[in-house]
Amino acid sequence: MSKPVIATASLAGCFGCHMSFLDIDERILDLIELVEFDKSPIDDIKKFSRPVDIGLIEGGCCNAENVEVLRYFRKNCKILVSVGECAVMGGLPAMRNTIPLKECLEEAYLNSPTVAPEDRLIPADEDIPVLLDRVYPCHEIVKIDYFLPGCPPSADLIWEALTALVQGRPLRLEYELVKYD
């Protein structure tokens, strides 16, 4: 039987959840025995090459490209997991949600003291993804099957969740894995 296939993406996040994933340290050797990777920043595969069993999503959606990638993942993954606070709730980027988008952009690109007078311009290049009115958690856009909370979720939690999914066994949620203070 072929190994389960995994894909990952970082949307409006900081890559911290991916870094936390890498904190599984030497277990990465077990991981490559257990699964294969498809589209992911870890192996730099840009496009899905086959149906994927588990998609791990870091970050929420702050622009149209995030939405497209997320939908692309949903289409190609049997199970989709929101990993970390940004994917689950919008996280730090969602702090802008209480401020109108126009004000945010003006503060960043026009009024900020670090912007030189000649550079005062709100970027509008066609190559830049269009921003959304606010930052959305992933489950408001596509169906999400599982949620791993934390900022970031610890390597142990990601490992436990992933191996449980792959092996089809219930998650062992030790208190230490989900306490945050």
Binding site: A64, K102, L132, E140, I141
Partner: protein, 599 residues
């Protein structure tokens, strides 16, 4: 303004912070930055602590307000009585929106949660004066008078019944007492109970109240005698009696009527409680919305002192007890006893961790018994008439009578004193309700029942209530009721517990998704699961009951929800990409074309 001089009389008493802030606000129209700094300096507090208190309460403001400040109530019965038209009239006549001050600085329009006038909505509080049964014409007249500079007191044309017409009240509020009973509105001669109490020992008083099986009338139903006993047994250099007159549960207005018509009975009850627990001071914590009763209540207290029923050496028996009134400043959560104590100490009204319970560490960390207005009034009658008399009424578990404040769709909204054990059906007949769809028993935090439950009894073992009964007939949309209640809890959450602060917002979002027809079976499951999490993970009664509007309507009217959810779809997003990018496109002048096939 010479703040130092004003602050002098408060003698650096931190427990009077709310009172201080209220005085400054009444002088300047708001609490200025300079005032905040002066208060912080005088009381030895940080600026943030003072600002924290101001921001906590609805009726304190650190931003300038108009000469007339209109707080229009937004409870569900106000909506049912035509609040929207009244609100529009206010906006039209003043030229400003709710949340704003008119350009000429004359009027500020604000919303507020239930002000205890559910039977005479739409109602508003303007500069402390209550205006009931408003309509667009009356609003026009009021704004006209404001332009003339008339004092709000002089805008009251006709006073209400009973003591509402007393020269120290002069309020248009009506009592609407529809049914009197033998306890609160029974035969009563002031002064009798305290004299009788002082002839026996505190232990005997506690025994009698225990024998009467008096359970707390605020809603929670804790045995009053037991509470007094616990408090009495606690060691402390001083004990306190606190009367909780902060009925904030939407639809409750019975304490308002008791305090208007039976204040002596309440104060006597406080003195008896004081004797029982060994207290020398009682505090009446009066909700801000009832400020209009304050002068009258002070007058009653003074009269009682003159009669020798309060003050030193009451009835010549060597027992000293006096009562002071402390005002709230607008916060539903302060009805919770530990939050009330925090507020009485001049702090933000955030509930405390329990234990220790208030009977152990209450006001100023000293043993305190906090009892509801009706409970104390009832205790007075129990002392006069005896436990057996009391137990002959009601049911074995729920002895005595209960004051119900009935509002909504019925012919005779108002106050009913009924024996426990009355069925909802009997009550509906009594109040003249027809074609009833649902009855909200115990306010938003209580239970919404359908016809299937109309045979149930109003008592502690079946349908407990602090008094609030709101009736909805078949012309009403239950979803707008639930929406109103959820908004209420979101507004009133103190913010301490995340499940309550954030959970209620998420619950409301999920509810709106279902209401709009975009919900799925999964959404229904989630709304139930989330409700349970909020209930079990919040530390005070507010969070522990805040999902009830959803959970109890789901239990009683499940078909209503099920008719709105899509049973086939696995997932339906509310999200619309084109809508979500519209704002950014407008700002940057870009056009957005969704890529149909990624990669």
């Amino acid at each position: 303004m010479n703040y130092k001089k004003i602050l002098q009389k408060y003698r650096k008493d931190r427990t009077r912070l709310i009172e201080i802030l209220k005085e400054l606000q009444s002088r300047e129209g708001y609490i200025s930055e300079k005032a905040i700094l002066s208060v912080a300096d005088e009381l030895g507090l940080s600026r943030a602590e003072v600002e924290g208190v101001i921001s906590f309460y609805h009726f304190l403001s650190a931003r300038p307000l108009g000469k007339y400040v209109v707080y229009l109530n937004n409870s569900i019965t106000a909506e049912m009585a035509g609040r929207e038209k009244v609100a529009l009239a206010w906006e039209r006549e003043t030229g400003c929106r709710f949340g704003q001050t008119s350009e000429d600085g004359l009027v500020t329009l604000l919303e507020t949660s239930c002000i205890g006038m559910n039977d005479q909505e739409p109602a508003a509080i303007i500069n402390g004066v209550v205006f009931t049964s408003l309509n667009p014409d009356k609003v026009k007249k009021l704004v006209g008078w404001m332009r003339e500079g008339r004092a709000v007191e002089d805008m009251v044309e006709e006073t209400g019944d009973g003591a509402n017409g007393h020269e120290l009240v002069r309020s248009m509020v009506r009592n609407n007492i529809r049914k009197t009973g033998p306890v609160v509105f029974g035969e009563y001669v002031p002064g009798q109970a305290i004299r009788k109490a002082l002839e026996t020992t505190p232990e005997c008083i506690i025994d009698e109240v225990k024998k009467a099986n008096l359970l707390g009338r605020g809603g929670a139903g804790f045995p009053t005698g037991l509470k007094w006993e616990f408090c009495r047994k606690e060691k402390g250099e001083q004990h306190f009696v606190i009367c909780n007159a902060d009925e904030g549960e939407p639809g409750t207005f019975k304490d308002r009527v008791i305090l208007t018509e039976r204040p002596e009975m309440v104060f006597e009850g406080m003195a008896i409680a004081g004797y029982a627990v060994g207290a020398r001071l009682g505090i009446l914590y009066l909700r801000h919305e009832y400020t209009y009763l304050r002068r009258y209540l002070e007058h009653v207290l003074q009269k009682m002192r003159e009669q020798g029923w309060l003050g030193p050496n009451i009835a010549g028996r060597g027992f000293d007890f006096d009562i002071e009134i402390k005002m709230g400043a607008g916060a539903y959560v302060c009805g919770e006893e530990s939050a009330l104590i925090e507020s009485a100490e001049g702090k933000r009204g955030e509930p405390r961790d329990r234990p220790p319970f208030p009977v152990q560490k209450g006001y100023l960390n000293l043993p305190s018994t906090v009892n509801n207005v009706e409970t104390l009034a009832t205790a007075t009658q129990i002392i006069i008439h005896g436990a057996n008399w009391f137990r002959s009424m009601g049911t074995p578990v729920s002895a005595g009578t209960k004051l119900l404040s009935v509002s909504g769709d019925c012919e005779r909204p108002g106050i009913y004193e009924v024996e426990y054990g009355l069925t909802v059906k009997e009550l509906l007949e009594m109040v003249g309700a027809r074609d009833t769809l649902a009855v909200q028993v115990g306010g938003p935090s209580g239970n919404c029942i359908s016809e299937a439950g109309f045979g149930r009894k109003i008592c502690f073992s079946d349908l407990p209530t602090g008094g609030s009964i709101i009736i909805f007939n078949r012309s009403r949309d239950l979803f707008s009721v639930v929406r109103n209640f959820l908004d209420f809890f979101i507004e009133e959450s103190c913010g301490w517990c995340v499940p309550c602060r954030a959970g209620n917002v998420l619950l409301k979002k999920k509810f709106e998704k279902i209401a709009s027809g975009l919900g799925t079976v999964q959404d229904l499951k989630e709304i139930e699961a989330w409700g349970k999490i909020i209930k079990s993970m919040s530390r005070c009664g507010l969070g522990q009951t805040s999902p009830n509007p959803v959970l109890t309507t789901l239990a009683s009217f499940r078909e209503l929800y099920e008719s709105r959810v899509n049973k086939e779809a696995d997932f339906i997003p509310e999200f619309d990409l084109n809508q979500a990018v519209a704002e950014a496109c407008a700002i940057t002048g870009r056009k957005f074309q969704e890529e149909q096939d990624h990669a």
